[in-house]
């Protein structure tokens, strides 16, 4: 058998796993790995910040369903991916992170660039490994990919000490994995499936509540079939946007804090809620004890620990969503449920998603509607975190799943732009648009260098409201309009406490995103008026290469509907003062 160094084994193993692209940044304790890459077939993309590398791997994974990979050095390299791991962990994204580590002989001695990477990342990874012997390396990589991509997916970190990278051993990539302590269960219990079907058949007001699990198991068709056969309205989580076609009459849209009126109403009035691959996040449930009070809860999930963690479940079905739904569809009666559908339709009409469409002001929602229209919902949209994220969720009509990528569980500002770059690597033929908040974008905008240098054509639309807008909205609504440290235009010269923002009177916004884009040789457009939105977007789409539009939107626009944090879904605020 061939002898190879640990570093070579690592690179070869990634190629054996058919890894198309790896994101990362080198450093002392990872140099043998980078040396082994030199001249190899591995497609490595040098990022400007390790956090961005982890989000790129994440965006690649979310958009393709394949595991994303990043490689960083020890110490600060590893600590810089902590946010990316936590983001991926919360949203069940398959990811492999490989970190360099100081040599085994000095671990624990506070060596240069030593950090307890395993200890730090333990609670934010599905699993992690410290490889102490080069003989274990290939097997560990195989296991890492297996763990990351099976069951409920998640990030796995492999920490590889310097001496292990340099040691030599025989290399054979294992064909199979067998981990006695890790055996995800895919087949649902047939008795439970029957019970669930019976409850659905007896129900008059059922609602399907669809989460990421449906996307992970490719169960979109099964959900569609089930909902159509039994006439069950469907609401989705933020992460499952596009999993259910939004143009059909059974689609309720998103649920929860900024969900639609009809989705929240339907859940609260339902006699059965069928949660599939969703985890009852507090942003979805509102006040838990009031959530779907009248409903029996059926929960289909591959993660047993997700069952009854937050809401008591009446009928749990543990297993793969697609497998279970296939059986469930057969057992569920065809039923019209005319009254229920009529009620739901009435809610849709009572309070559709709305904003002031009739004035000339540049409302952020309008921008998203236009993007949706021009791309026909077929582009990949990523978001940062904040108001622009919620408007994107509400107004972008994604045609399929994996087209709307957003950090849901962790709510990570700085996620969207690198995730868009990662997504583009996985989908070179799709239009990829990063919808950014002006605040969040500044957390990882340095990655434009990566987009430009690699000719990765990612469009950026900044909804510039000169605020950490989401924070400002909460301050306006719940903190007496005291805009404490949420204004991004505030200068030393400004009055100490200001709650009267006004673009004309406020200091000049920095940075000038247009000039900034130009400094990368990229098209930059500023839009300050509604009439210029569509032409600017068209120009952007016609442009080859990256492009940035700085949209100066209404600065005090708010997201509605809104369920205040901790309130029940019944207590939706559909508009200001109303």
């Amino acid at each position: 058998m061939e002898k190879k160094t640990g570093a070579q084994i690592l690179v070869e193993s990634l190629l054996k796993e058919n890894v198309e692209v790896v994101f990362g940044l080198p450093g002392g304790q990872a140099l043998p790995i980078f040396d082994a890459m030199h001249g190899s077939k591995l497609n490595f993309i040098l990022t400007r910040h390790e956090q961005a590398a982890s989000h790129m791997a994440d965006g690649y994974a979310r958009s393709t369903g394949k595991p994303g990979v990043c490689i960083v050095t020890s110490g600060p390299g590893a600590t810089n991916i902590v946010t990316g791991l936590a983001t991926a962990y919360m949203d069940s994204v398959p990811m492999i992170a490989i970190s360099g580590q100081v040599a085994t002989s000095v671990i624990g001695q506070d060596a240069f660039q030593e950090a307890d990477t395993i200890g730090i990342t333990r609670p934010i990874t599905k699993h992690n490994f410290l490889v102490k012997d080069v003989k274990d390396l290939a097997k560990t990589i195989k296991e890492a990919f297996y763990i990351a991509t099976t069951g409920r997916p998640g990030p796995v970190l492999v920490d590889v000490p310097f001496d292990v990278q340099r040691s030599v051993c025989e290399f054979a990539y294992p064909e199979k994995v067998e981990i006695r302590s890790y055996k995800p269960n895919y087949n649902g219990h047939i008795g439970q499936i029957k019970k669930a079907a019976e409850v659905i058949n007896k129900s008059e007001r059922p609602v399907l509540y669809v989460g990421t699990g449906v996307v992970v198991s490719n169960a979109e068709d099964e959900i569609l079939e089930l909902s159509k056969k039994a006439n069950i309205p469907v609401t989705n989580t933020l992460l499952a946007i596009g999993a259910y076609p939004c143009n059909t009459n059974l689609s309720l849209g998103m649920l929860g804090m900024h969900g639609t009126y009809c989705a929240n109403k339907a859940v609260q009035s339902a006699d059965v809620v069928i949660a599939v691959g969703a985890r009852f996040d507090d942003r979805c449930t509102g006040k838990v004890c009031d959530f779907a009070r009248k409903a029996k809860i059926i929960h289909v999930d591959i993660d047993p620990a997700a069952i009854s963690k937050i809401v008591d479940v009446d009928i749990p079905v543990v297993g793969d969503a697609k497998t279970i739904l296939k059986e469930m569809v057969c057992l569920v009666d065809r039923k019209e449920r005319k009254n229920w559908i009529k009620t739901v339709d009435a809610w849709k009409e009572e309070h559709p998603l709305s904003y002031e469409r009739n004035d000339d002001n540049l409302h952020p929602q309008y921008v998203i509607e236009k993007i949706s229209e021009l791309t026909k919902g077929e582009a990949i949209i990523t978001t940062e975190v904040g108001q622009h994220q919620m408007w994107s969720a509400q107004y972008y009509k994604a045609k399929r799943s994996r087209l709307f990528l957003s950090s849901g569980g962790l709510g990570t500002m700085g996620f969207g732009y690198p995730a868009a770059i990662g997504a583009k690597f996985g989908n070179p033929n799709k239009e990829v648009i990063a919808v950014a908040g002006d605040g969040s974008f500044q957390m990882n905008m340095q990655e434009m260098a990566v987009a430009v240098l690699n000719s990765v054509d990612v469009k950026v639309v900044i909804l510039n409201n000169q605020y950490l807008g989401n924070v400002r909205q909460w301050q306006e609504m719940f903190y007496g309009k005291r805009y404490s440290h949420s204004c991004l235009a505030k200068r030393k010269e400004c009055p100490k406490w200001c709650n009267t923002p006004n673009r004309d009177a406020c200091p000049v916004y920095v940075p000038d995103f247009v000039k900034w884009a130009e400094s990368y040789g990229v098209l930059g457009i500023r839009v300050t008026e509604k009439k210029d939105v569509e032409p600017a977007l068209k120009k952007m789409f016609e442009t080859k290469g990256s492009a940035v539009i700085d949209m100066w939107v209404e600065i005090e626009e708010n997201i509605f509907p809104m369920v205040p944090a901790g309130a029940s879904l019944d207590d939706m605020i559909t508009r200001m003062n109303g």
Binding site: I118, G119, H127, L130, S181, D303, A305
Partner: protein
Amino acid sequence: MRHPVSVLVENKSGVLARISALFAARGFNIASLCVSETEDAAISRMTIVVKGNEAILEQVTKQLNKLVDVIKVNDFKDIGYIEKELALIKINTVNKISRDEIIRLTGVFRAKIIDVSPDSVIVEISGDENKLNAFMKAVLPYGLKETCKTGVSVLCRGNSGKVK
């Protein structure tokens, strides 16, 4: 409520940290924790006494099962089990009367005196929580100097706890 939970894990470094970190991060309370190798050197057994209601116990077992290094979790629901804990207890014996009384109590509780010093003795006692508490209470008036408990060890009766 207290529930013993027996966890068979891969005998690797870092596994104890994984488990204790899980309890800390999820806000579960541990009353006692006892770790040792099993008859199979590749497997360790952790016996954890969890404080909390049924719902918490359910989450604890599920979350433990989710850890990749956890092979099997047994919460002894509806199965018979044996529970024992060993305690070493150092008690004041400043005068003869108290020493005699402690020797008598030690006999009553079927405990053992394993060390005698001029002004104290060390008693070894094993049993379930109730027995240990009762003994402590009985000797408390003489002055407990120091105690050390091993944590609860539990095995189920018969075959229901074996790894397949």
